[in-house]
Symmetry: C2
Subunit: 432 residues, 2 copies
C-alpha cells in the first residue's frame, strides 16, 4: 500500500498572554498569542506539524480555512508530497475558486502556508534532519524548482537564482560547521513591550546586554512623550554600543512616521520597524529617504513575495523581516530569501509570538549556509515567551540561537499544552 | 426601547455557473458565482442586506469570518450605526486581534466590508432612498468624516478631500436629474468569456453593439494563438469604433504581459485589465509604460485604499476598477473614489459575478453626482447573469444602467433563490 495522508487535524490553541500584557504594542494592546495548529498523519503513523500564528480572536477563521484547504491534502501520496512540497503549494495557492479570497494574501494564504510547512516538517522528519539542514542539502536546481517565479521574473529569474545559489555553494560546509558550533545571532524584544513600566524596561534592557544581545527592540507609537522617556531609559541602560531598534507596528501614516521618528533621532535608533501600513511600498520608500541613516524594516505583515519584491525594487527597506507563518510557507520564503540576496538586503526574521522563533530559525540558518552566506547585520528576533510548550524549543545562549538538531521544523507543541490551551474548551479558558 | 441589531444571519449561497462556463477566464476556468450573504435584523423588524461575492469553494471560510465579526454588530443601537457606519468600519477593520489575519486584506477585510455594506443598506432603507442618493445628499463634511485617512494623507488629506467635494457641489442637482433621466454608461463582458466558442463570440459581439454598448471586454491569456484569432473575430464583429478591452485576470508576469500584449496591438485593445498580480504596483507601472497608448486597468482584486493610493502615485493605472465587495465596504470605496478624483483617473467599476452590478452602480452614480462630476471615459461593467435572483435587479437599457429608485443598496436576494441555491443543502446542490 502506498503511504498517503490519512488525516489533517486542526486545533484552535490560545495562550492568555494579554493577562500580563506580554506582547503589547501600539496596534496590539492586548494580544493573546494563539495558533491554528495543524497535524498531518500518514497511513503509516508518521506526522507533520505546522502552525499559523495568530493573536487571539479570529483564530477560528484561520482554523476554518485550514480545514477547507486540507481536503486537497488528505489522500495524497506522502512520497510525492515530501519530494516536491512546491507542487502542493501551487495547488493550494492557485486553486481557481479559493484564490478569489486572496489572492495570495490573508487568511487563505496563511492557511496554505501552514499546510505547506507541515509537509516540510514531515519531509524533514522522514529525512532525519532538522529543516535547515534538509534545505541546505538540496541542490541549487532543487531549490529553484520549489519556487513559483510567475510574478518575480522582472526582479529575479530562475537563471539568476541558480547563479546566486551556485555562488553560495563555496564554503557551504565550513559555514555549516560554524553554525553548528556558534549558532546564529539573536536580538531581543523582551524588554520593550509597551505595557511594561519604566523600572521593568530598564531592568530588562540591562539583562539583555548581560545576556549577550547586541541589538534590542522597543515598541513605540503610543505617545511621543512616553517614547522619548522610554528611549532615554533604554539608551541609558544599554550604553552607546548596543543597537536599539524601534517598532511602531503600523500605527502611523507616512508624514506622522517621519515627524515622530525625528524626535527620537537623538537616541540613535537602529531601525524603525513597520512605520506605516505594510502594504505601503512607496510610503516605506518615502520614510526611508526622509529618515536615513535610520534604517527601515518591515515584513511580518508583508503578505507575499510580490510585495517583498517591490519593497526591494523601490529601495524601501534596509532590513527584510521574513515571517514563517505569514506567507505561503517555506517555498515562498525561499523566494523571499533569494530576492533579498539578489538586492543585497539583510534578512532579520520576525519571531516571538508562539512558535515563530522555533520555525523561522530554520530559514535564517539555511540562508546563512546556502544563500546569503553571512550573518553580518543579521539577527533573528527572540522573545522568551511560551517556548516551554514546544517539544523542541529553541535554544538561545549568549545572544545566539543554537542550531536545532532534532528532525523537522520544530513546530510540535506538547500534547498537554494543546489540551490545556485549546479554545474555548480547554481548562485555561473554560474557567473564564 | 432603543432599536438595536437583533441578529446577523449569514448564508452560503452558490450558483452553479461553471456548468456552462459563464464567467470563465484564464485564472478562473470554472467559477461557481457565489456569495457569503448577510442579513441584519433589528429589534423593530427592519433589515439590512449585504453580500460578499466569491467564486465557489471557500465561501464557507468567508461565512465563518462574517460570523466572527458579527459579534461586534449584534446588540448595537441602530440609530448610531446608520448615522455613522464609518465608526463600525473602524471597529471591525481595526480590531486589535482579528487585524493580524489581514491587516485590511483578504477574508477578514471582505467580511468587514460585507457587514458595513449591510449597515449602509439598512441606512438607505430607513432614509427611503437608494444608496447613491443617500450618499449624494451627504455634505462634504459628512462624507469626509466617513473615511479613515490614517494611511492616505501623503496622497490625500481631509482638507483636499473637502475641497474636491465642495467643488463638485456645483451643478450637483443638474447631474442628479441627468442621471435619473439618462442613466450611467455600461460596458459588457458578456461576449468575451474564454470558454465560449468563436461563433458564440461573434454573435454576442454583434448583439452588444446592437444593444448600444460602446465598450466590450474579452478575456485573454489562455493561448496567444486563440487570443489573436478571437480578437480578430471580435474586431471584425464590432467594427473599428467600438472599444474592445481585454482582461488577463493576472495570468502573466510583467515581461509576459508586455510581450503578449504587443501581439494584440494590431486589434487596438482599449485597456489591458489585470495584466499581472494585483499586488504589483510597480509591475503595473512598468506594463503601462511599455504598452502606452494601451491603457492599464485593475482593481477587482486590489485589496484596500493603500494599494489604490500607490497605483495612482506610481502612475500605474489609467482606469481604477473599484469593486463593491473587495474592500472594507462603502466607506473605503468613498476613499478610493476621492483618490481617483484627486489624481484625475477615471473609475470604471468591476461588476458581474452575482450582485456586483447591483451594489457597485450606487457608488459610480454617487461619484458622478458628487465627486468626479463626469461620466466621460467611464462605464460600469455589465454581465447579464443572475440578476433574476435579486429583489431589485439592475435595469440596463441602451447600454446604460438606469438609476435605481428602490431604497437601499439593491443587495437583497429573493427568498426562493436563497433556499434553492444554499450550499450544500439547497436543492440545486443536494442532487449533485
Amino acid at each position: 500500500m502506498t503511504e498517503t495522508i490519512l488525516s489533517v487535524d486542526t486545533l484552535d490553541v490560545r495562550f492568555p498572554t494579554s493577562r500580563h500584557r506580554d506582547g503589547s504594542d501600539a496596534m496590539n494592546p492586548f494580544p493573546d498569542y494563539s495558533a491554528a495548529y495543524v497535524v498531518l498523519r500518514t497511513t503509516e503513523g508518521a506526522e507533520g506539524h505546522g502552525l499559523i500564528f495568530t493573536v487571539g480572536r479570529g483564530t477560528e477563521i484561520e482554523v476554518a480555512a485550514v480545514r477547507s484547504l486540507a481536503e486537497m491534502v488528505v489522500g495524497q501520496p506522502v512520497a510525492e508530497l515530501v519530494a516536491d512540497p512546491g507542487a502542493l503549494a501551487r495547488r493550494l495557492i492557485g486553486d481557481s475558486q479559493i484564490r478569489w479570497l486572496g489572492p495570495e494574501k490573508g487568511v487563505v494564504h496563511m492557511a496554505a502556508g501552514g499546510l505547506v510547512n507541515a509537509v516540510w516538517d514531515l519531509a524533514a522528519r522522514r529525512a532525519g534532519k532538522p529543516l535547515w539542514k534538509l534545505l541546505a542539502d538540496l541542490t541549487p536546481e532543487q531549490i529553484v524548482a520549489q519556487i513559483d517565479f510567475r510574478y518575480l521574473r522582472d526582479a529575479l529569474t530562475e537563471v539568476e537564482a541558480l547563479e546566486l545559489l551556485r555562488a553560495a555553494s563555496i564554503n557551504r560546509d565550513a559555514r555549516e560547521q560554524l553554525l553548528r558550533r556558534e549558532g546564529y545571532p539573536a536580538y531581543t524584544t523582551t524588554p520593550g513591550w509597551l505595557g511594561y513600566d519604566d523600572e521593568k524596561l530598564a531592568r530588562l534592557c540591562k539583562e539583555a546586554v548581560e545576556d549577550g544581545y547586541e541589538l534590542i527592540k522597543l515598541k513605540v507609537g503610543g505617545s511621543l512623550a512616553d517614547d522619548v522617556r522610554r528611549m532615554a531609559i533604554a539608551r541609558e541602560a544599554v550604553g552607546p554600543k548596543t543597537r536599539i531598534a524601534v517598532d511602531a507596528n503600523q500605527i502611523w501614516g507616512v508624514p506622522d512616521a517621519i515627524g515622530w521618528m525625528r524626535e527620537l533621532r537623538e537616541f540613535d535608533p537602529y531601525w524603525i520597524e513597520e512605520p506605516t501600513s505594510p502594504d505601503d511600498v512607496l510610503g516605506h520608500a518615502a520614510v526611508r529617504k526622509a529618515l536615513a541613516p535610520i534604517k527601515v524594516a518591515t515584513g511580518e505583515h508583508v503578505h507575499n513575495a510580490v510585495m517583498f519584491k517591490q519593497l526591494l525594487q523601490a529601495g524601501a527597506v534596509d532590513v527584510v523581516q521574513i515571517d514563517a507563518c505569514r506567507v505561503g510557507g517555506v517555498n515562498e520564503n525561499l523566494a523571499i530569501l533569494l530576492l533579498a540576496a539578489k538586492f543585497g538586503v539583510p534578512v532579520c526574521p520576525h519571531a516571538g509570538g508562539v512558535g515563530l522563533c522555533e520555525l523561522v530559525q530554520h530559514l535564517a540558518m539555511f540562508d546563512f549556509v546556502a544563500v546569503s552566506g553571512t550573518t553580518e547585520n543579521r539577527a533573528i528576533e527572540y522573545v522568551d515567551h511560551l517556548h516551554e510548550h514546544f517539544v523542541h524549543p529553541v535554544r538561545v545562549s549568549g545572544g545566539r540561537y543554537l542550531a536545532p538538531t532534532a528532525p523537522g521544523m520544530s513546530a510540535q507543541i506538547v500534547a498537554e499544552s494543546l489540551t490545556a490551551y485549546s479554545f474555548p474548551e480547554g481548562p485555561e479558558w473554560a474557567a473564564e
